[in-house]
């Protein structure tokens, strides 16, 4: 699926993550900022990548600013940002 517009979801508050999605040409590229990047960087990227793949988004630039979000939060914020970026209004139940 093609990114129709740049979109954002989530906040920069503690236990949350801000996900920004932008049109890209070169696969799923993630730029992650996190205090726990050493411990959980790969895990966070993995959750974002898997969620985007489930939504059939193959080319996208991701800017993620993590403030200690749990996986379920990362997934929820990624889905919300993706649906905004794809201009979809109905939830993708199968991914949830």
């Amino acid at each position: 699926m093609e990114i129709k517009t740049t979109a954002i979801a989530g906040t920069l508050e503690s236990s949350d993550i801000q996900i920004m999605l932008m049109a890209g040409q070169d696969g799923i590229q993630i730029d992650l900022e996190s205090d726990v990047i050493k411990q959980f960087g790969n895990q966070i990227k993995q959750v974002i990548t898997t969620t985007l793949q489930q939504l059939n988004i193959d080319n996208v630039k991701v800017r993620a600013v993590d403030k200690g979000a749990l996986d379920c939060v990362i997934k929820a914020r990624t889905i919300a940002a993706a649906q905004r970026a794809l201009a979809q209004t109905t939830p993708a139940w199968e991914v949830l």
């Binding site: 979109a7 906040t11 920069l12 508050e13 920004m20 932008m22 900022e33």
Partner: protein, 351 residues
């Protein structure tokens, strides 16, 4: 403890006073009209009825961000304000934003996803969102052998494009393989950005090694160099031009293999004179700075400001000596509109 973020209306005296008090306590003291009037919206963070944080935006530039960290974990309130500002700009479909801040706060902004474009001992400029400077640089046209060529750059507002600008471009075009002319993108001049770009292109069309592009947010824009557009103290001009020069040196020049920057000598404008000094200090020795004596007509340097004066008076008898044909044609065609813009308050004495 309850915390909420609301929009502040600075037109209302009570809110304005509370806002100004908070920022003053945090060490921000510049509340001049020329700064405050630029603001599009202001957010306030209230905790238990007290204003503890604020942030504003003017176009895509974040301003007047301040949080009180008393009785709060450091960063919490700042992150709340930053988050709300970014969300709000995205709702307005502004996906790219910049912030000019004191150097010591750069880390706080990087912590919430901003990338630093340049910093000096005093100040830093950061951006967030898309398209960013990498995207901007990527879309600039290049020649196929650019890495081996002599490449130069000129940044100009060209308000409007005169024979003086033309002379400067010619000098650079003769001495180099490729010349980039970066036209100031900020639309705050008598001639609109569309008109200025059009006149630079038309006025250099016969020079086939000249590439005319927009300076984007990165060369003499409201973000990098607001003092170019607003009358400002020398210290502010110095701080801003230092960052502007460093962005050019560290981002634009290496990507495009630019080794020379051309400037016109500046006998009259204080702001531009400081800018020229700072450029020489910052760019050398990596990038050569060539200052070309201004071209003169009747023993007087050609100045776009004088052209704007002619437009104001409507006496265009000397116009053809000062500007190339396309500029003269446009001025003659649009004289009533240009005069109307001046009447409506467009300043013509600045840059």
């Amino acid at each position: 403890m309850s915390s909420t973020i609301v929009e502040l209306d600075l037109q209302r005296p009570a809110e304005r006073a509370e806002w100004q008090q908070l920022l003053t306590r945090l060490g921000i003291h510049n509340f001049s009209h020329r700064e405050v009037d630029q603001i599009d919206f202001t957010l306030g963070l209230y905790e238990d009825g007290e204003l503890v944080g604020t942030g504003s935006a003017a176009g895509n530039i974040l301003k007047y961000i301040g949080v009180c960290n008393q009785a709060s974990e450091p960063g919490v309130r700042f992150n709340q304000i930053a988050s709300a500002l970014i969300d709000r700009l995205f709702q307005q479909r502004i996906f790219h934003m910049l912030v000019f801040t004191k150097a010591q706060y750069s880390a706080s902004f990087q912590h919430v996803g901003f990338k630093e474009l340049a910093h000096s001992d005093q100040a830093a400029l950061l951006e967030n969102g898309t398209p960013d400077i990498t995207d901007f640089i990527q879309q600039i046209p290049r020649t196929t052998q650019q890495a081996e060529q002599r490449v130069a750059a000129i940044v100009m507002n060209a308000n409007p494009f005169t024979n003086g600008h033309r002379y400067l471009v010619e000098q650079a075009a003769h001495a180099n393989d490729v010349v980039y002319v970066l036209v100031v993108q900020t639309d705050a001049s008598l001639f609109t950005t569309v008109e200025r770009v059009q006149l630079v292109k038309a006025g250099t069309a016969d020079l086939n090694n000249v590439i005319v592009i927009s300076g984007g947010d990165y060369a003499v824009s409201y973000a990098t160099f607001p003092a170019y557009f607003l009358d400002s103290p020398a210290s502010a001009i110095e701080a801003q031009t230092t960052l502007d020069a460093r962005i050019f040196k560290n981002h634009l020049a290496p990507a495009l293999n630019i080794t020379t920057r051309y400037l016109g000598s500046e006998p009259t404008s204080r702001t531009t004179a400081i800018y020229n000094d700072v450029l020489q200090r910052e760019l050398a020795p990596t990038i050569a700075v060539k200052i070309i004596e201004r071209k003169q007509v009747a023993a007087k340097p050609i100045s776009a400001r004088d052209v704007r004066q002619l437009i104001k008076t409507g006496n265009l008898t000397t116009l053809d000596q000062l500007v190339p044909l396309p500029t003269a044609q446009l001025i003659k065609q649009r004289l009533p509109q240009l005069q109307a813009r001046i009447q409506k308050g467009m300043k013509i004495n600045g840059n």
